[in-house]
Subunit: 437 residues, 2 copies
């Protein structure tokens, strides 16, 4: 049974604080192992990558076999059933249409002092995308990472995906093809992250690495951060559903379970303004759990981390939501826009009961890579901005330097940075001698 | 003497690669010490912060003395000479005017399938800014961090600044006052970062921590990342000047020295298309070094990490610049805009000889917190975006769900995420029974 809390109860604050601070993930400490793997790949390149792939994926490769040929990718992709191909193409098209709108604009203006100012966005030259193997090998995640990279203008996009025992996920290959990925390597784990960050004879280094992965991949990403850029380190998935009692309990039960089925550490929370309705949703969850394929995982998540919170009104719901800062927030209420305006910390908001969170995982358009573990307080989901960087621009005219240079001289002197000041002074002296321009 | 390279020489590629890979910083490994300090602050709160401040800053404080009162801030700020006050206010005004233009726009549209889509930007609720004490306690850095935070709409902005032996930098207090900082604490080091991230009885926790610091502060920021957001971990400063021979060697010498004087690990590089001109700049540097206040630091930086590179033409210069990906790039050439278009990896570009880099440190308007150590390949300088986060929004109409829901069902099934699919199916069944809407 999930936790059942009521804001009217005396013990509520204690119970809610316990819920917020529950440690859901206990990552094994693999840092030393990962440090060794990275050092090995840096020292021996392809040979190390092949050795490690043999050891971890039971796959014997020569360096020239690390990369899938275009023909191999096409052959694997061709095995995907037609309905899936159409669905992936529709998803890619919608994700692209959404992310194209995120492209930021360059700026350039001249200010009253005559200084030209602005900025310019340019894409990262090369990006690497990690795709897990096995059960969590999701073609939708390939699209969610690769499409924004290509929209941003990344010239070279490489995927690393492990193929344990040589088993390839054809839908991952198709998604890579649809998204326009340039290179695909059958390499996984920390060795893939090391190869992408430092390069080997066969795998050129990239500037930025994104994508989910297990504890080894996460530890490797942390270690190579600085040498390359990385996206966030994602934790277990979460959903918060805020609902009034004018909802179908079965719909909400399925929405709660669609996070719970990801992972035993996932968390699903319902906030409602009617205890009786809350109990009906719990019953609906129990009913669905009886037949759900992943009932072992979903049941454990719901039992250990699930919660139903009864509030007096929606203002209270919004306040609690802001303390939770959920990855996914579903608002199944009469006026979801009004409630959304009060919910300021959330990765993604799904407005109204006709917008199940699962739509956002696949075909809504917005990205499904979102901040977890309360990090929506300070971070955002993946976007084209993750594959762009901004260069600031400034151009002083002699007159502009005359107008603002003296302040720079004063501040440089006050910070005891003499050469800073002199670099302005030397120019102002020429200006004052009337030979500038 | 700095390195002198010529792209026409046979050994150039080796020399340039050596320059690129030079390890300029050898940070002491303080991670264990920092882990202990963070644990102590988490366990004992204010008492630990006071103890640590006594130990490291030789300052005996009670918890109620950790925070500067508004009267104390005003009294310290009033000690700043009038010329400095005016310069700081002009700087703040220009930084504000630049960063206001960075504010991103919210979006909302309805697509052809009838799906409402968009996103919304909201500020981080509370941010903490670390300001180093001693020699590197720069009021300009207070402005560069605090002004964007306040422009972004951060409600609560707290500063931690150590005051060793009780010595307060009045200009830092004035900058905090001008920027509208809400709280200032006389706490430094890893204990300040721990207090900001986890909170104590007197210091409420924040959501994001920015600002420069020594090895202890940097290690602490890395450790609390995830619990809170952090900005980049800045390395030693760098400048690349690309100049034709139609320049005053003394101006360029001062620009090179204005980075070199920051730190013995700083790096200043000149690229020019005329070896004789390059030698004249080196002579000008030597001449200025004879009298410069910080000649010991600047001289060591220039000797150990400085470089002059002679190229055949500006295209070659741009290609090398892109491999260096400099923090600061000064283009002292006839058509700096044309050259800037080719230089795609740089934190900030200064266009033309009348735009010394030092202008950007103080009063230009763009931020002076910029990516170092080649990270301009994948990251950007500080901006209002560092104090904002984006929530994606989606609202399906029943018709929109009817149009795109089936693709989500197919993809959920292919990824073996049954509840995901069922959450769509349950709604489509109602729609198909004609009772939706």
């Amino acid at each position: 049974m999930p936790v059942f809390l009521d804001t009217s109860d005396a013990g509520f604050e204690h119970g809610f604080a316990t819920l917020l601070s529950a440690k859901r993930e206990d990552s094994p400490d693999v840092d030393d192992v990962v440090a060794g793997i990275i050092a090995e790949v840096r020292a021996r390149g392809d040979a190390a990558v092949c050795d490690l792939t043999g050891r971890f994926d039971r796959l014997s490769l020569t360096p020239s076999e690390l990369r899938f040929s275009p023909e191999e990718i096409a052959a694997h992709a061709a095995r995907v059933p037609e309905a899936e191909r159409v669905a992936l193409e529709q998803a890619a098209q919608r994700i692209r249409a959404y992310h194209v709108r995120q492209m930021p604009e360059d700026a350039w203006w001249t200010d009253p002092e005559g200084a030209g100012l602005g900025w310019r966005w340019t894409p990262v030259s090369a990006a690497g995308l990690y795709v897990p193997g096995g059960l969590a090998s999701y073609p939708s995640s390939v699209l969610m990472n690769a499409v924004p990279a290509k929209v941003a203008g990344v010239e070279r996009l490489a995927i690393c995906v492990p193929t344990p025992d040589g088993v390839v996920n054809p839908a991952v290959m198709l998604a890579a093809q649809i998204a326009g990925v340039d290179e695909v390597y059958r390499v996984g784990g920390a060795q893939a992250i090391a190869a992408l960050a430092y390069g080997t004879e066969s795998i050129a280094p990239v500037d930025k690495i994104t994508g989910p992965g297990n504890a080894f991949v996460a530890a490797a990403k942390r270690r190579v951060f600085g040498k390359v850029g990385i996206d966030m380190i994602a934790g277990p998935s979460e959903i918060l559903v805020i609902a009034d009692s004018d909802n179908d309990p079965d719909w909400l039960a399925l929405d709660l379970l669609s996070q719970a089925e990801h992972d035993e550490s996932a968390q699903s929370i319902l906030i409602c303004d009617d205890a009786e309705f809350g109990r009906r949703v719990v019953e609906a969850v129990e009913a669905r759990l009886e037949t759900l394929e992943r009932r072992a995982i979903a049941g454990a998540s719901w039992r250990d981390f699930g919660a139903v919170i009864v509030v007096r009104d929606l203002e209270e719901a919004a306040a609690l939501s802001n303390r939770i800062a959920p990855e996914h927030l579903e608002l199944c209420v009469a006026d979801p826009e009004a409630l959304a305006a009060q919910c300021v910390h959330a990765g993604a908001i799904f407005l109204g009961a006709w917008t199940p969170e699962a739509i956002g995982d696949y075909v809504g358009g917005p990205n499904h890579v979102l901040p977890t573990a309360r990090s929506a307080r300070f971070s955002s989901g993946l976007s084209v901005l993750d594959f762009l960087k901004r260069t600031t621009l400034a151009r002083m005219s002699p007159e502009a330097l005359g107008a603002i240079g003296p302040a720079a001289e004063v501040l440089a002197r006050s910070e005891s940075l003499e050469a800073h000041g002199l670099s302005v002074t030397a120019r102002l002296q020429r200006l004052n001698r009337g030979t500038g321009g």
